[in-house]
Symmetry: C2
Subunit: 201 residues, 2 copies
């Protein structure tokens, strides 16, 4: 009632973003009102261009620039095409690329299996992964789903589906994070680290 409609409208829209409640949304809105007009204009344009300017890679389903069939990784002739790392989201590709330690291709599932949220195998790009592996030339599939219930369920399902196809199947190691402290590690991480202990000799 008290707030002008354009302000209420922006607060409502911002509140629909994950992790942003009504209080943060109004703080952001009033910041934009106070800040120079450039920021809200830039945000408005960037949002309008977000979907028209992007596309999905036809091979790995990573995000790419509109009009391109392949993402920069798939289009790069130097990448090892015999290696596919299966991840849930494009952000996971970014995280792995940032390490600079992976030279293979990716496959972005678009999520993880979750009976609770009603996400089944057909909602993910699993059939496309099987097609890629069946096409041949793939020596190893690294399952890089998250170390969560859903990620584990997805990894098990992928194992069942990929086992008959002959490619080697591996999963990212789980254990204590670097720089972590045994004292503060949660029980499950510690159990994993114990179960996955490696010979030092």
């Amino acid at each position: 009632m008290l707030l002008p409609e354009p302000i209420r409208r922006l607060i409502d829209a911002l509140s629909r973003l994950p992790g942003i409640g009504p209080k943060t949304a109004s703080r952001l809105t009033f910041h934009l009102l106070r800040a120079d007009g450039g920021l809200s204009a830039e945000l408005s344009t960037a949002l309008a261009n977000l979907r028209t300017g992007t596309a999905t890679c036809q091979l790995c389903f990573n995000i790419t620039t509109a009009g391109k069939e392949l993402c920069p990784v798939c289009a790069n002739a130097d990448r090892d095409r015999s290696l596919i790392c299966v991840v849930e989201e494009p952000l996971d590709v970014l995280a792995l690329e940032r390490t600079g330690g992976y030279k293979g291709l990716y496959h972005v599932l678009g999520g993880a299996l979750s009976p609770i949220e009603g996400i089944g195998p057909d909602d993910l790009k699993i059939a496309d992964l099987l097609t890629r592996v069946r096409a041949g030339g793939v020596q190893e599939v690294i399952v890089g789903t998250n170390p969560s219930m859903e990620g584990d369920a997805t990894a098990m399902y992928l194992q069942q589906q990929l086992a008959p196809l002959g490619a080697r199947l591996t999963r990212l190691a789980r254990g204590l994070p670097m720089g972590g402290d045994l004292e503060y590690a949660d029980q499950n991480t510690l159990l994993r680290a114990l179960a996955g202990r490696q010979s030092m000799s």
Copy 2:
């Protein structure tokens, strides 16, 4: 490099918002990519309309709808015009209005005095406040600046300026917050609560 330009552009713009770092910005961007297109379109339009759709109240400098001279509070004939509560930001007006316990008018300074950030009296709507009080009819000015260093400095400055004008000058009480716990109250709050203790008899 790896991210398409429209995505990088939105991440950059979102990162310029207060409290939103590069990680949150990319999480929000990828959420918008995954979510139905309606949300990013709605956000884009709301941002574009934010400044064109709003104006500043010519009396109290609160925010109002474009084309209106006064904000809903100043335009309301039922409000007590002998009472002015001075606050830093429009959000403070909202907070006080939500209590339903204040029936006077407001005066929005647009910030607080801060030598560190280079904000002096001329950067705030202090001269306009003095003009309002000098015009007569104001019995009491309630200083509602924040209980912070800057808010305190502003309150002291206002006291100096307003003292000769005859209106009663008060300040919002400081002490223990309701529902708070003595054990967890910070030292300064506790000192204020002690100094401001009230007779129970």
